[in-house]
Amino acid sequence: MGVKLLLENAHIEGIRYYETYRKHGGYRAVEKALKMAPNDVVEEVKKSGLRGRGGAGFPTGMKWSFLAKPEGVPRYLVCNADESEPGTFKDRYLMEFLPHLLIEGLIVSSYALGSNSTYIYIRGEYAWIPDILEQAIAEAKQNGWLGKNIQGSGFDLEIYVQRGAGAYICGEETALIESLEGKRGNPRIKPPFPAIKGLWDCPTVVNNVETLSAVVPIMNIGGEEYAKIGVGRSTGTKLISACGNINKPGVYEIDMTISVEEFIYSDEYCGGIKGGKRLKACIPGGSSVPILPANLLLKTAKGETRYMNYESLSDGGFATGSMMGSGGFIVLDEDQCVVKHTMTLAHFYNHESCGQCSPCREGTGWMYKILKNIEYGKGKMSDIDLLWDIQRKIEGNTICPLGDAAAWPVAAAIRHFRDEFEWHITHPEEAVKRNFGLAHYADPLKVPEAV
């Protein structure tokens, strides 16, 4: 069993409620933090090496230290609970089962940053979760952890829950801020970054649910101890939401030292591929990150074991690696069609593009149409290069990273599964009836010769 910091108490009955949560050590992190200077709390988070758990992996302590603190101007902390990246459902788990962990993390973080009004922006579809969070907030308030002069510290804090209304783009922090201001979720041009000019033009930090929850164990065990867990710059623990063709889909906490192979096949985690089938491919960090064929997933191009951490998953760059992303781990078995799967993702990004930038607004639609043609036996050989060309012209040419997120899955599918695309085009009648299959995607890789 690996180290558990976030889900350690998740199995305890009644942990959703204050009394039980408190009995099991809850709100100790707040007690500890309120005795420290806010900047020392920031330092502790810096020492922990915690990286943003929403997908980008940016060091949290550093993000906090960028927050501008002009005199007389309010500062805000906003919790990004707009979890919408396909394959990702970990924040939902935290909020549904451990709401007080998030509230506790928000109190500590708000104190560190000097936010007196903190907002949780949650995706609109998680319609039952605001009730759970609001109950936890009310319980915390009744017990003196929120409101005026918390525990005699002089620090005031209110936490509010705000529902979105169905827009993936609102997970992008500036789009989220726009949405919280009651507008369309159009990402803003950066700079200025939210740390300088965010919510209502005030300095703002936006952090993911898991990131803010992780602040609790960091306070409890100390930043240095937290940094000892894991490996290299992948410190602490990470929640992975595993789905697709596996025996045990669900949310797992890992300490980032286990191999991808262990994660997929061990009974402690995914429990292997459903129905005893063979592994074909996997998207290890949410739909935006590159898909990898089985052989490149389990081992790097150099033939080394691949591990479930930021560095190892990205080993080889986009040519032969992928990314940790949000931890949305999507497994495809030998019977799945990469073309069709990529088509659904292209449809997703086309649907979710806010429409501000033409490369994304138009390009995502073109990619979907071309992929649909290929999938349904109407593709031409030149379509593959056309797709490649479109994705390349979207990437890096948009205000926000949704363009990149739409381009990468298509690029990686062509890069690693080009023969499957070609087969669809050369066998249009067969392609509508059956899938290409496993092909050579699980064959052992030839170790490249030393350069």
């Binding site: 394959g87 998680y126 209110e158 705000q162 209304a165 993936y168 201001e181 889909p249 739909s287």
Partner: protein
């Protein structure tokens, strides 16, 4: 005349108090949710104009937002909206079959409503339940690990509520 009940109006005031003075526009999305629940499951123009008036913003500011977010319905929908996720992880676990089955059982395609106004089929993009696929949203809650039998039960359940 479109008008919230007194307790809903009190709720609107409570929402507005969450933001600094003069930032009441931030209440727009929560109030539109409230309006959609209160006025028949969709946002007709008079409803949006009423919300604009309540929040002291222009109607266009409301239309801009209502047309952007997929949860706001701009046309009438059935009493029960079956929102079936069709994105990657649900697709590889058989969401196509769930859509096909609903189509066959209720005689409606994506975006359509049954003649009796009971059901609307609305394909949805990833709803964050990938580990419990295939799934649908029904009102406030998720229905997960769907099978044909579960779809039968859900439809039966909805009909009983009528």
């Amino acid at each position: 005349m479109v008008k919230f009940s007194d307790d809903k109006l009190a709720k609107v005031q409570e929402i507005i108090r969450r933001y600094p003075e003069g930032k009441q526009k931030s209440a727009l999305i929560p109030v539109l949710h409230l309006a959609q629940e209160s006025f028949g499951g969709w946002l007709d123009v008079p409803v949006m104009d009423y919300v604009a008036e309540l929040l002291n913003i222009t109607p266009i500011e409301v239309y801009e937002v209502a047309t952007f977010y997929t949860m706001f319905n701009l046309r009438p929908v059935g009493k029960h909206v079956l929102e079936v996720c069709v994105t990657g992880p649900c697709m590889i676990n058989g969401s196509d079959d769930i859509i096909a089955y609903i189509r066959e059982k209720l005689g409606i395609g994506p975006g359509e409503t049954t003649a009796d106004g009971m059901f609307t089929l609305k394909p949805a993009e990833c709803l964050g339940a990938c580990g419990y696929a295939p799934m649908m949203q029904l009102g406030k809650h998720y229905r997960e690990h769907l099978t044909r039998e579960k779809v039968d039960q859900i439809i039966e359940e909805c009909r009983k509520q009528a």
